[in-house]
């Protein structure tokens, strides 16, 4: 087992903090440095589009740890500081331009929002990734915004749009795909998700893009690709994220839509990566993937931390079944697995009409995924089957036994 006196974790958010907690839980007693460029103590992002945006929760409720617990980790915690370069052979990382040595380094710098070109400098146009973003959008919703346009009906866009409707404002949700999240959920289940929006009074426009965000210094309207012009004084853009890897230029690491790792989350000798920034071959799927879900940041953070303490012989591959949730209106949506849009879909309990159901996905005789609307316990049961690599007929049999 490699001897390590010091571990540095770059990125003080979910993956980074859970990595630090794992190291201490496993008995690591050396120097543990956690560096993050945000000024805040590590906080949880999912509430940013939900309870925080709705005004139900205050900022102090979203912290990822209690102060006593943080203190117990005995961290060298550097908030508001940015890592600017990495030298793998020399084992140094530059923090605010000053080189510091490490024995083991974990990269957890996450991702940031993609923006709509041409909207820089137009007030009232936002993206949502950080606490500061969340507060800015919440304050706009609270203080007299009259019409909202959300661009992109992925999870975050859909949640923001749903929360904005809760303020009693007219909201238009614009999605380029014909069916929201159709690429992930397939059209059948995606249509149900669209139905939930419409039931709740959303002005949902699918199959259209955004041609222009209009307004000189403040946003006034959004012009869509079908020619429609929608008035708006608040626009939230949710069109995906890009991994934060610029600081790794010249480090010798392979950066290609994320930090490329091996199966065990190792990016270079004594360097691992985890969370939204990491790309690795998941042996379960024989596919190189980058996963942007909460649970993956937790699991991979722990895995990448432990990897630093293991020799190459001891190291194990990271082979999770991806899993996420999303809360929209009063519906709790969850999905586990890796479906393709044209997989077979079977509803195994509940119904689309009730907006309460479990649907399983299959291909080539295998179970590939499960989706649940207000069915969290059931999704986890099928996730267990996915972890075991269950066949389609096994999954159907399991479903029959449940009823």
């Amino acid at each position: 087992m490699p001897v390590r006196d010091s571990v540095t974790i770059v990125g003080a958010s979910l993956a980074g903090l859970r990595a630090a907690e794992t190291l201490r839980r496993d008995g690591f007693e050396g120097r543990l440095t956690l560096i993050g460029d945000e000024p805040h103590v590590p906080y949880d992002r999912p509430p940013l589009s939900k309870q925080l945006l709705a005004g139900d929760w205050d900022v102090d409720r979203i912290s990822l740890s209690q102060p006593e617990r943080m203190a117990g980790l005995d961290l060298d915690l550097r908030l508001g500081q940015r890592a600017t370069a990495l030298d793998v052979p020399a084992h140094t990382v530059d923090i605010e331009g000053v080189a510091e040595g490490y024995d083991g380094l974990l990269i957890a710098t996450g991702a940031r929002c993609r923006t709509l070109p041409g909207t820089e400098g137009i007030a009232g146009v936002h993206t949502l990734r950080t606490l500061d973003d969340g507060i800015a959008i919440r304050d706009a919703l609270r203080s007299g915004s009259r019409r909202v346009v959300v661009v992109g009906a992925g999870f975050i866009g859909a949640e923001v749009a749903a929360t904005a409707l809760g303020y009693g404002l007219p909201v238009t949700l614009v999605e380029a795909l014909p069916v929201p999240m159709g690429r992930v959920l397939g059209d059948t289940v995606g249509d149900v998700v669209a139905g939930v929006h419409v039931d709740n009074g959303m002005d949902l426009r699918c199959g259209v893009g955004v041609d222009e965000v209009c307004g000189t210094d403040r946003v006034e309207s959004v012009r869509l690709s079908d020619g429609a012009v929608v008035e708006a004084d608040l626009v939230v853009v949710g069109i995906g994220v890009v991994p934060n890897t610029e600081w790794l230029q010249g480090s010798g690491l392979t950066v290609d839509d994320g930090v490329l790792c091996d199966e065990t989350c190792l990016a270079a000798p004594d360097v691992t990566a985890a969370g939204d920034v990491a790309r690795w071959p998941n042996p379960r799927y024989g596919e190189v993937m980058r996963v942007e879900h909460w649970d993956n940041a937790v699991e991979q953070g722990a895995h990448a931390a432990r990897r630093l303490m293991l020799s190459d012989e001891e190291a194990e591959p990271f082979s999770p079944v991806p899993w996420f949730w999303s809360d929209q209106y009063d519906r709790k949506v969850q999905m586990a697995g890796r479906p393709r849009a044209d997989d077979e879909v079977s509803v195994v309990d509940g119904s689309f009409e009730e907006r309460r159901f479990t649907a399983i996905y299959g291909r080539d005789g295998r179970l590939t995924a499960v989706f649940g609307m207000n069915r969290p316990r059931q999704v986890m049961q099928y996730r267990g089957l996915l972890e075991r690599g269950a066949s389609w007929s096994e999954a159907l049999e399991f479903a029959r036994d449940q009823t």
Binding site: R25, D44, R69, D295, V298, W325, P376, R377, M380
Partner: protein
Amino acid sequence: MRIVVDYDLCESNAICMQIAPDVFEVRDDDFLYVLNETPGEDRRAVMDEAAQRCPKQAIRVED
């Protein structure tokens, strides 16, 4: 050590149950039951892990 669950936050996804089935149980009625609110000190690491992996931040481990 005392385990406190905020049932308003909990969504019964049973992640904690996979980690410590002797302490957490999500039953067929879709509610989470804490089977042992005061597990022994030897279980602290496992309880911390359950709290850290709960996606809804619904579990608190109090001293």
